[in-house]
């Protein structure tokens, strides 16, 4: 089943290269000085335009849960690649590295997603001027 989540996230990242380039500038919404890592349980995936979103529940040391929204690229041609929504396995623990929204809300631009099996994929939107697109980030 873990593999299925891998398919999801790998597909997400592939999709990020299709539309939508520059629906909005990265810098109009996210703060490149606020790099963060969020670790939590995948609770929901929205396979939508203009971006795909996935949502994770993050527990702090006291057991309080906060909900994070993670923006990735747009879905694009996934259905033609055989991806099915039914393949989704929610509940897995993922690590999301990215940048916080400028407005301070629990919304982040997911530039890198680490899967339960340790593999790392990118969730970034193509050509939005975000950090990795400049090659200045690891």
């Amino acid at each position: 089943m873990k593999l299925r989540i891998a398919i999801l996230v790998a597909s997400l990242s592939l999709a990020a290269g299709v539309p939508l380039l520059a629906h909005h500038s990265f810098a109009a919404e996210f703060d490149a000085s606020k790099a963060i890592r969020v670790t939590g349980t995948l609770t929901r995936v929205q396979w939508t335009n203009p971006h795909t979103y996935f949502y994770i529940d993050v527990k702090d040391e006291n057991g309080n849960v906060s909900k994070w929204s993670c923006e990735a690229g747009a879905p694009g041609a996934l259905s033609r690649r055989g991806f099915k929504r039914g393949d989704l396995k929610l509940g897995d623990m993922v690590v999301v590295d990215g940048y916080r929204a400028k407005d301070g809300s629990r919304l982040m631009d997911a530039r890198r997603v680490t899967l339960p099996d340790g593999r790392i994929v990118s969730g970034a939107s193509a050509g939005d001027g975000g950090p990795e697109a400049t090659g200045r980030n690891p």
Binding site: A10, H23, H24, A28, A32, K102, T114, V121, G129, A133
Partner: protein, 278 residues
Amino acid sequence: MRTNVAAAILAAIAVFSVPVFGQENNPLTAVDVKSAKPKPAPRTADGHPDLSGYWKGTRDTVPVGNMAKDLPGLKLPLTPAGEAALQHNLTATIDPESLCIIGGIPRHNASGLPFEVLQGARKIAFLYWYSYYRLIPIDPKRKHSEDPDPSFFGEELGRWEGDTLVVDSIGFKDEQVWIDENANPHSDALHVVERWTRPDADHIHVETLIEDPKFYTRPFKYSRTWVAGKPEEEIQEYSCSENNVDRDHLGFGPGPIRPDGTRGYLDPAPLPPPIQKK
């Protein structure tokens, strides 16, 4: 299930084997491979060059999304009113395109996104990602209306001058419009003349004359070449307002603009180091 496994492996290889979302991995742009013996542009039954095709930008277009691309120092000739409009756009408006409002002309010609052209004898259609389109009549006898209803693409009239399709447009909106991704302004006095050619089978080219006496002290030009996409490539459905979570989180303006005329931060904080696989 085996298919899914194979798909996952292929997807992972695709992700890991190229720089993350550099141009190499971006199917929205293409490399301009200049052939020594280019194929001639196809022609329609009436003898005109056929501009039909799926057209992709190249990395030669820099900075993309900036209407000052061809001007010295990337400086647009703003009037005082134009400068005030720019400051307003930067500090008090959200990018209209990110709110799912049509970008219009000339902004679509500076976009990083491909477009598709379908040419008929009396009309030509430009189809854009975002599921937007413009339909331009080709009729040398047609004149502009006295008082056209303002629109994002303007009132567009097409005519052939030899092998060049000339599209002359007036009647633009003056609110919720940015002339490019960098929040530069235009007014309702905007007049755009596009001169489209297909120099060979693999290229389409536009020379654009932009005139806007309210916001710009003189007319200026914007030129660009796109290359033909692969035969199987075409515009896909894109419903911009389906789930526009961004709407409530976007700031005013495009964010910082780098000295090279592109949008983004110069020195982003590094992401946390990747987790080492156990």
